[in-house]
Amino acid sequence: MKVLVPVKRVIDYNVKVRVKADQSGVDLANVKMSMNPFDEIAVEEAVRLKEKGMATEVVALSIGPHQASETIRTALAMGADRGILVKTDQTVEPLAVAKILKAIVEAERPDLVITGKQAIDDDSNQVGQMLAALLGWPQATFAHSLELAADSAKVAREIDGGLQTVEVKLPAVITTDLRLNEPRYASLPNIMKAKKKSIDEKTAADLGVDIAPRLKVLKVSEPPKRGGGMKVESVGALLDRLKADGVI
């Protein structure tokens, strides 16, 4: 069974995001970039399937600039077998990402695509579902646990009310939630080994996909700031304040 894992290079989750003064976007100059945390969970899950003998090959794919190959290297160091970089310097909207992935899936024929439920930069939470729709595949989003059989997958999903378990036929798309696993840190020998693994480079044009943005970003602004608060000395004083504010 072949598993495809799309991974995105995003601003590191610890970085404080700053909006550019001209409101054209957020400032990414000299900012630490990392693999989207949900995609790390996806790589980990795929590698575990391989270690359990259920997956034969794990292919990591990223769409992005030249530096996205570092994100692929991280996946390779975690245990993915080879990489594909679809190189572009422009913003690729979720629908275009899904179209690129569809073209890759048609060429690679994986039985399973595992990816993060959302990327922590645009927070869209769309790509997995869109890819499943374009392929006519079932989806199991927000995965909390995964049990794989030869031709189906049983997935417990994190939903607003708790957990829901569904069974989907393979091939399928699975998107990861936080509790699916705890991703490993790549060991030094594995980082060295990853340097020898191959990364195949393509462009969206090679795949025949139009990635021109369809949404027009008019501006990116700062959210409203909260006024500074105050410290209270006792729970009594706190309740007095809350009562005066009319919230209790």
Binding site: I120, A132, A133, D160, D177, L218, V220, P223, K231, S234
Partner: protein, 314 residues
């Protein structure tokens, strides 16, 4: 033309996330229709018909729709899509699961978690955990968007929409429901409660987490948690508030033993009043808190509980 709103419900009760999405829809394209899809959900469809401003409630009832799985729901919405120039769903786990499938099949981009309708094709929505607000204009064609419910008021009750039964297309047969483990609680739901009290890693254990219960009961509050508290198994996943959990904006949010990581703030910083109880005076949560109580929660929480009791909160 018209807009279509996907109703949030559990076959028995219509959730107010629907009413909030209706408010957003009414600002985009009218008349507004609500789609109630499920199994034996007649009562929900009737409730949807009573939302003010709704012209028609569409009721699709079939065993394959009982759990609103994404694949049959996509087929159903696609069968209706031609009549609408906007298709919206509340940004719940159900809406987020289904709507991108519909968007992709219609070759239309989706705008996620709209906060504000600037004009019928232009929306504000959060990116980077709400640290930036993006204003986007959708291309000509259909509008497809999920609605951040915390950002919109609920449409009132008192409408008199027509109720129309519709037939669901055949189930694509790709997925099936196996079971569910839902959290049961007598308390208000996190996303609609007027007061929320959340606990973090500082609570230290599942046992200690129950210290929040008594205060929550007295304030009729919902109970939430940080990711760290969920990961540590103090409470189930559906308690998580934050960038990748639930987004809440109650009148009062009380954060107990929560440091205030950006991912947590993303889910609660639009609350009207924020209280933080934390023993670390430098914890980032105090930067967004209206009232900060610096101290050991194991002392403050019982005190708070007692003081509430003294003041007649039961």
């Amino acid at each position: 033309m018209a807009s279509l709103v996907l109703a949030e419900h559990d076959n028995a009760m219509l959730k107010d996330a629907t009413h909030k999405a209706v408010t957003a829809a009414a600002a985009i394209s009218t008349p507004v229709h609500v789609l109630v899809a499920g199994e034996n959900c007649e009562a929900v469809a009737q409730a949807a018909a009573k939302i003010a401003g709704v012209e028609k409630a569409l009721h699709a009832d079939a065993p394959s729709l009982a759990r609103q799985l994404a694949e049959p729901m996509e087929a159903l919405i696609l069968s209706l899509a031609g009549a609408y120039d906007a298709i919206l769903a509340p940004a719940t786990t159900t809406g987020k699961n289904i709507l991108p499938r519909v968007a992709a099949s219609l070759d239309t981009p989706q705008v996620s978690e709209i906060l504000k309708v600037v004009s019928p094709d232009t929306f504000e929505h959060p990116i980077y955990a709400g640290n930036a607000i993006e204003t986007v204009q959708a291309p000509a064609g259909k509008i497809i968007a999920t609605v951040r419910t915390a950002a919109f008021g609920a449409a009132a009750e008192g409408g008199g929409a027509t109720l129309e039964k519709i037939t669901a297309p055949a189930d694509p047969g790709l997925s099936k429901f196996i079971g569910e483990a839902l959290s049961k609680s007598e308390r208000p739901e996190l996303t609609s409660a007027r007061i929320v009290i959340s606990g973090g890693r500082g609570l230290g254990s599942a046992e200690n987490f129950k210290l929040l219960d008594s205060v929550a009961d007295k304030l009729h509050a919902a109970v939430g948690a940080s990711r760290a508290a969920v990961d540590a198994g103090y409470v189930p996943n559906d308690y998580q508030v934050g960038q990748t959990g639930k987004v809440v904006a109650p009148d009062l949010y009380i954060a107990v033993g929560i440091s205030g990581a950006i991912q947590h703030l993303a889910g609660m910083k639009d609350s009207r009043k924020i209280v933080a109880i934390n023993k670390d005076a430098d914890a980032p949560i105090f930067q967004v808190a209206d009232y900060g109580l610096v101290g050991d929660l194991f002392k403050s929480l019982p005190e708070l509980d007692e003081e509430l009791a003294k003041r007649g909160y039961k």
